[in-house]
């Protein structure tokens, strides 16, 4: 089967990189016609925050215009909506900003953690924390990572999950990315999560449409 290479893929943190890999794998299983998406060696890369990604937007746009496939996943955080973020980062004025075909730019509302908490059944089972503790409307959570860490602070029992909690002054504990990556790779039900998170659903649609029909996006 034809392979289409994602030339560069960037995310803000290690966990989002895992999510990108899982989404592309999921997309490849779902598309029975057209090309398989693969990452170029070494990608996705963890850019450690959005600063490095934002700075490279003009160069990445040049690449996408030149036919090199770019995939970026970033968090909406405290902004109003993703079109606003795109207008700002890409320096566009249109109300519905258009990006090059080969630039898959996705914004998680409000953080990647919302996409993961959207499958609260699996997450509750994975962390051994009763499901009643998890919020049910993922895109509406103001600070999803904080929310998840708060749940862990209250309810985590196993040592490896307790080590996901940050020490004072830190953002995450030493086991955070590791455990959440295991969850993403082996337990996260993408179908179920995308049924509940609008921004995840849109990201998946874009990926599934991409290259699905002779390499062109409808």
């Amino acid at each position: 089967m034809e392979e289409v290479q994602i030339f560069v893929a960037y995310a803000e943190d290690a966990l989002s990189c895992e999510v990108m890999k899982r989404l592309v794998a999921f997309r490849n299983e779902r598309t029975d016609s057209g090309a398989v998406l693969t990452f170029r060696k070494g990608f996705p890369e963890n850019k450690r925050g959005f600063g490095g990604i934002k700075k490279q937007i003009p160069a990445m746009k040049n690449m996408a215009d030149a036919g090199l496939l770019v995939f970026v996943l970033t968090d909406l955080d405290q902004r109003d909506c993703s079109p606003e973020l795109i207008r700002d980062w890409f320096k566009l004025n249109d109300s519905k900003p258009n990006l090059p075909e080969d630039f898959i730019f996705r914004v998680a509302e409000r953080e990647t953690e919302s996409w993961l908490m959207a499958d609260y059944e699996s997450l509750s089972k994975f962390l051994s924390i009763p499901v009643a503790n998890f919020p049910k409307a993922p895109d509406a959570i103001e600070r999803p990572k904080q929310e998840l860490l708060n749940i862990l602070r209250r309810k985590a029992k196993k040592r490896c999950f307790k080590e996901m909690i940050p020490e004072p002054g830190g953002h995450v504990g030493p086991e955070y990315n590791n455990q959440m990556s295991i969850f993403v790779r082996n337990h996260w039900n993408v179908d179920r999560a995308s049924g509940r998170s609008n921004s995840l659903q849109r990201a998946l649609n874009k990926l599934i449409r991409f290259g699905g029909h002779n390499g062109s996006t409808p």
């Binding site: 030339f7 560069v8 290690a14 990189c17 895992e18 170029r40 060696k41 070494g42 990608f43 890369e45 490279q56 003009p58 160069a59 990445m60 040049n62 690449m63 030149a66 090199l68 030493p174 086991e175 990315n177 590791n178 990556s181």
Partner: protein, 381 residues
């Protein structure tokens, strides 16, 4: 004159190398991927041509023999082949091409014997071995023509080129605590104390002018720094002395054993760049330096190359540094070292057309090439 192409088979952890070079060469690879092994090709040839007791046998023994030198992945092929082309700026055909194949002697004295040695000038063969004399007298094959002054008259430029190779990998502790290490002082590799001797051996006028230029740069890079001087103690031993701003007029003097690691490495780096218009091998110049300074290294290299003018001064740099590889002024040849599928050896890749295009469109080598060398997927902890 620059090295324009290197070919090798079975050299250390590389089964095969074939790269064309242009300008400053940056070697990118994970820890243990073989960046130093690649640079060792030049040091190996320098050891062969070293007029003070060098030679092929010495160069191989220095590296603990053929079994350590040969690529583990190729059990079939017994020997090592090296081929190097040297080109004048702007020329089409390489001025010099030198080929050397050698392997271990089976039985007997277990020396290293030449299987093939050839040199070309402007594309024309000067000599090829083994020749008839070699067939009569096998002992001759233990020595290259390159290392023999009475045999290399017609291609002495090649050995002169490699004799002047400089390798910089300053280890500050070796310099600061030299009395604690009974280390062998390699003449032209300033690992430690050798660096101060190098300073001492430089004619005073040159030394003063170079240290003056270094002082200017240090004034910008180090807060409170005022003065850098070369001094000799009462036993005649060479030292570097720095003066910092201090509220007491005569205080604030420090000698090299009190310098910070980063300061020492920066001084050594600048000194090396000023002191050669030949091949310079820099091993991870970013070590111990603040990221802002590391980002300046590509510019330092370019300036050094320009100041030596037509004489050249080709530079090879091994690095992991994002800051170094993100600098917008960076240019040259990028070689990416990655393990082969089987993991037994390392391959050297030059950037693909698409990768070069991306860099041209505004991405940096750090964005496009460095991730390929990442040793781990995800995180270690």
């Amino acid at each position: 004159m620059d090295v324009s192409r290197i070919k090798a088979t079975n050299w250390r952890n590389f089964r095969k190398i074939d790269v064309e070079l242009n300008g400053t060469t940056y070697l990118l690879g994970a820890n243990g991927s073989g960046k130093s092994n690649f640079l060792d090709i030049f040091r190996f040839i320098r050891d062969i041509v070293n007029p003070k007791g060098g030679g092929l046998q010495y160069a191989v023994e220095e590296r603990k023999g053929m079994t350590k030198l040969r690529c583990l992945a190729s059990r079939q092929v017994p020997g090592i082949d090296l081929e190097i082309e040297l080109k004048e700026n702007g020329e089409e055909v390489p001025t010099w091409r030198y080929c050397l194949s050698f392997s271990g002697e089976k039985g007997g004295k277990r020396r290293t014997l030449i299987r093939k040695e050839e040199a070309y000038k402007n594309g024309e063969l000067i000599f090829s071995r083994p020749d008839d004399k070699d067939k009569d007298d096998k002992d001759r094959l233990a020595e290259t023509y390159l290392e023999q002054t009475n045999a290399n008259k017609e291609f002495r430029e090649i050995s002169a080129f490699f004799q002047k190779t400089l390798y910089l990998h300053l280890i500050p502790q070796l310099l600061k605590y030299s009395e604690m290490f009974v280390s062998k002082q390699t003449e032209s590799d300033p690992f430690g104390q050798g660096f101060l001797s190098q300073l001492a051996d430089t004619p005073e006028k040159t030394r003063v002018s170079r240290l003056g230029r270094i002082e200017k740069i240090l004034k910008k890079a180090l807060p409170k720094f005022e003065e850098l001087q070369f001094v000799k103690d009462k036993h005649g031993n060479p030292h570097l002395e720095m003066r910092h701003k201090h509220w007491r007029p005569n205080a604030g003097r420090q000698q090299e054993d009190q310098f910070s690691d980063g300061t020492l490495r920066l001084i050594a780096l600048l000194w090396t760049l000023m002191s050669s218009n030949n091949l310079i091998l820099l091993e991870e110049p970013e070590l111990s330096l603040h990221e802002k300074l590391v980002g300046e290294i590509p510019k330092m290299l370019q300036k050094a190359r320009r100041s030596t003018g037509k004489a050249g001064g080709q530079i090879f740099v091994s690095t992991h540094s994002k800051a170094l590889l993100s600098d917008p002024s960076i240019s040259g040849t990028f070689l990416v070292l990655t393990p082969t599928e089987s993991g037994e050896s390392t391959q050297i890749e030059q950037p693909t057309k698409d990768e070069l295009k991306a860099i041209e469109l505004g991405m940096s080598p750090a964005d496009i090439l460095l991730p390929k060398t990442s040793p781990i997927q995800g995180e270690l902890f």
